[in-house]
């Protein structure tokens, strides 16, 4: 990457984005939630399956939830086959997405380093790299010196509390501009005939004899043959309208940005052990994600102590950041499942589909999740890549437990 890549050369956005249609009385498919996943699902329904009688309804402004609040990291270096499958599918879509959508998304494949700070981290990292490579995902194990070559501002001194002992590296990983991604999908879906309806809150899900018939909203009743839930942190609230209980809990996830800075940080660095995720965005601001606040919340805010801890850890890794400034912090609502993997598929109610539980991984999955969800909705059976992500796994015990597989005490 050159300094030019991070210069403030933001490409011009399209001069027209989307219509602002009045809702029709009925649709083939109503997608509830106009975030990245909802918009991508609408786009792929139209593009891949020719289903264009589709409405995406959102209670506020399009892509104003987690899509507007995430740290835009894109990677596919997941350990388990089930996760790796769908995230790598997403990665391949990311690589052609700007052309496909005919819209700049500023996808910058600057690589992601996942740091290891303990022998256990090292074992976990090596295990993941080896699994990634056999799954056809680019991944390398780096020693601290090699990590330093990728990220020259990283502190690899052995004399810190938790020294960097190594890192996994996925060169194809990177970041994109979240708003542009959402707007690219929205614009492309709009052009294919999808109605994007904002300020339209769903107040009920209409079910007749076990079959969904539509949604009632603050802008009236919309009938639908199929209803696809795509509401991230609000999934439980919506599912409850249909009498469906989900194994999902909603938590605050905070993030922050600094002021614009000359390029210093050429890649993306993640450290699960000390809860730091940091990249330098195209305009020059440092973008950082924090740990999840422990309690359930829909408030889109969390505690300051989480931010304090995150910055303390960040300065251990990057002493150069000491006098950078936090300009803005914010919180999203992440929906977390017991195994930290998503739920994507059918529900016990005919015609009602479910996509939720992406936790902190929702943004990077956007095109992959949209693709598989659209396919599942169109065909009424789970897409093969989504097949391990059904609700049934919680009864059989066949969890996709990235959390459990990655992090346990010793």
């Amino acid at each position: 990457m050159t300094a030019q890549d991070t210069a403030d050369a933001v490409p011009e956005l399209p001069a027209t984005l989307w219509r602002d249609p009045e809702p029709k009385r009925g649709y083939d498919v109503v997608i509830v939630g106009g975030g990245g996943h909802g918009l991508a699902t609408a786009y792929y329904l139209a593009r891949n399956h020719g289903i264009t009688d589709v409405a995406v309804v959102d209670k506020g402004w399009l892509a104003g939830g987690n899509m507007a609040r995430n740290t835009t990291i894109i990677r596919s270096n997941y350990l388990l086959d089930a996760s790796a499958g769908i995230y790598e599918h997403a990665m391949k879509l990311w690589e052609g997405l700007a052309d496909d959508l005919d819209c700049p998304i500023l996808f910058s494949q600057r690589g992601v380093l996942n740091l290891a700070h303990s022998p256990q981290d090292v074992r976990e990292g090596v295990r993941r790299v080896n699994a990634n490579r056999l799954n056809g995902i680019d991944a390398e194990w780096l020693d601290p010196r090699q990590a330093l070559e990728i990220c020259p501002i990283l502190n690899i001194s052995p004399d810190v509390r938790y020294p960097v002992l190594g890192a996994t590296y996925q060169p194809r990983a990177g970041i994109a501009r979240h708003d542009y991604v959402a707007w690219g999908f929205a614009r492309a879906a709009d052009r294919l005939g999808v109605d994007l309806i904002q300020d339209c809150e769903v107040t009920g899900i209409e079910v007749d004899s076990g079959r969904v018939t539509g949604v009632s909203t603050t802008r009236g009743l919309l009938t639908a043959r199929k209803v696809a839930l795509c509401a991230a942190g609000h999934s439980s609230v919506l599912a409850e309208m249909a009498g469906l209980r989900l194994p999902v809990q909603s938590h605050p996830l905070q993030a922050l940005v600094s002021e614009l800075l000359e390029p210093v940080h050429p890649t993306v660095v993640m450290s699960n052990a000390v809860h730091v995720y940091v990249s330098q965005a195209h305009k020059g601001e440092l973008v950082m994600g924090a740990g999840i606040d422990q309690y359930n919340s829909y408030a889109q805010r969390g505690g300051l102590h989480v931010i304090q801890r995150q910055l303390a850890a960040a300065l251990e890794l990057f002493p150069i950041f000491a006098r950078a400034h936090v300009l803005r912090t914010w919180g999203g609502i992440v929906d977390v499942t017991p195994d930290a993997s998503a739920i994507l598929g059918l529900t016990p109610i005919d015609g009602l589909y479910l996509n939720c539980g992406w936790g902190t991984g929702g943004f990077k999955a956007t095109p992959g999740a949209g693709w598989c969800y659209a396919d599942t909705i169109a065909n009424g059976v789970p897409h093969p890549l989504a097949a391990p992500l059904t609700l049934e796994r919680f009864a059989t015990g066949a969890l996709v437990d990235e959390h459990g597989a990655a992090a346990v005490a010793h």
């Binding site: 194994p247 909603s250 919340s297 829909y298 408030a299 017991p338």
Partner: protein, 90 residues
Amino acid sequence: MLIECPWCGPRDETEFHYGGQAHVSYPDDPSVLTDEQWARYLFYRDNPQGRFAERWCHGSACRRWFNAVRDTRTHQIVATYRTGESAPVT
């Protein structure tokens, strides 16, 4: 947040850890449950937008578990009460 421990009084949230939904009891005899019923116990918890009866543990002090009713939209704690008691408000 400032959380009122029934034993130690109001303390900073950092002294506590969270225990999720309150009043979920361990089944009397798990062996008679279906896999689906057992999964309900293991993995399914309420996730309301609004008041939520939940468990907290004052881990950095008296180590006692207790319950709170908290609004998940505002983080306002309406009441805290001891384990084994029923929620004073809903």
